[in-house]
Symmetry: C2
Subunit: 308 residues, 2 copies
Amino acid sequence: MKEKIAIAVHGGAGTILKSSMTLEKEQLYKAGLEEALKLGYQILDKGGSSLDAVTTAVSALENNPLFNAGRGSVFTHDGTHEMDAAIMRGDTLEAGAVAGVSGIKNPVVLARTVMEQSEHVLLGGNEAVRFAFDQGVDLMEPEYFHTEFRHKQWQDALAEGKVQLDHSDKKFGTVGAVARDRNGSLVAATSTGGMTNKRWGRIGDSPLIGCGTYANDKTCAVSCTGHGEFFIRAVVAYDLSCLIEYKGMSLQEACDFLVMDKLQKFGGEGGLIALDKHGNVVLSFNSEGMYRGQYVEGSNLTTAIYRS
Amino acid sequence: MKEKIAIAVHGGAGTILKSSMTLEKEQLYKAGLEEALKLGYQILDKGGSSLDAVTTAVSALENNPLFNAGRGSVFTHDGTHEMDAAIMRGDTLEAGAVAGVSGIKNPVVLARTVMEQSEHVLLGGNEAVRFAFDQGVDLMEPEYFHTEFRHKQWQDALAEGKVQLDHSDKKFGTVGAVARDRNGSLVAATSTGGMTNKRWGRIGDSPLIGCGTYANDKTCAVSCTGHGEFFIRAVVAYDLSCLIEYKGMSLQEACDFLVMDKLQKFGGEGGLIALDKHGNVVLSFNSEGMYRGQYVEGSNLTTAIYRS
């Protein structure tokens, strides 16, 4: 029997209010999510791996300047772009991640290269960029990452003297994808440009295995987006897996408990996308909105932004 | 009723063979562990916090050139010293960590400063050192970290062209401590100089909350030492907590299963020190040896190196 294929993506969560959106902007975001889902689904549909589907979907979101990852990454305090990304495969529990890298076109590709071409899981900073160079991973000049929108956010944040999560709305800019292929293998990946005006080499949950990203064929694949510090302290991604494996919860029960109850009480605003070994997809968040979408075999592709 | 106070420390695990040790070296290692235990225990005994006890014990190990952390940190490929550390308190689930920092006398103190003086959990690289400077955390010149022993290891590794875990033995150089104070609060901390001849800004499990370090008053405090990449992929520290919280295992059962069965099968060589909410201490490892010690109220201080 062929396993059911499925893919889900997110483009960040937070205070995304309908009142501060235009119909045109909404459609641009949805088109970006849809493109990523379709590119990933096509790969799965042709019998490709969840690893390739997730890499391609996250790369598409990284290439879209609307989302805070890759090209659309926010500015740091020093006016640079420092990006984080992670990827994990559920069949072998192999993982790769990078933290605080600049000039990388697709940080998710670099994370995958760390997984496949090094004996390490996590590389950080300029040295990780040297690894990217050695491996022939695509590098881009700073101008590539310069978008007027993000530049203005940074200038505003500098003027106000504060670190901002994404922009003037309280928004957690991250992208991510989870997928299941015809072999039933699960993969998760997350990528982010971090916080506007961030200093001191702050690293959030996105590149941290078990916090922002986790995959295990026995339980689930999950990519988080939210207030990173809370997601680290709550080890959210692996907690979801443990609730399924050790407590016997279904994916839906585990997400309801973790996101809507435990994280809510803890102050951990945000959400996650997850997919279990049966191909069930759950997109869960306790914030006002989350850019999200799913494409599951036998169902229509759907995208959404606000609470339903 | 006064809660039972307890502290445990480790100084790394791996292939530590009696045949390659001298009695004098053994005694030096044991004296280092004993000093850290006594300093931490004194604080607990006077009614001090597990946070202060753990910070003091880990700082003592960092100051001892025998251990691969702080002063005794190994050399990177470029001849520098890049250190990682993390600390977490079990009462509030607050955490602080640093990755890839150079010139910091006591990385555990910097990790604590991140926890207490920033809104972040994890800071990395040169920017984290700038934070240390701003906060007045003790910095040292490179010479402070230059020990002949480590320098020779690095030269040997360069000559052989390989990354080494600690030195010519397969040893995972890390230090850590867990403690429980009179309020029953648990704290865990880990600190390391990483791998000899490491490149590309490799970050191991030590500074990663949930992987190498975790504390939760409801379950346990744990500090790991081992082949970092496996400990990250297995999210070891938080797994121990979940086995207790979700599976209802005792600390001993959870350590036996996790270290001696699950990690062993996974290829994750190393060990951990852990302490539960009742003040039970378990020092567990699947490698040849682990520098370790414990001092629990009502029992004698003990230190050990090899399998018993």
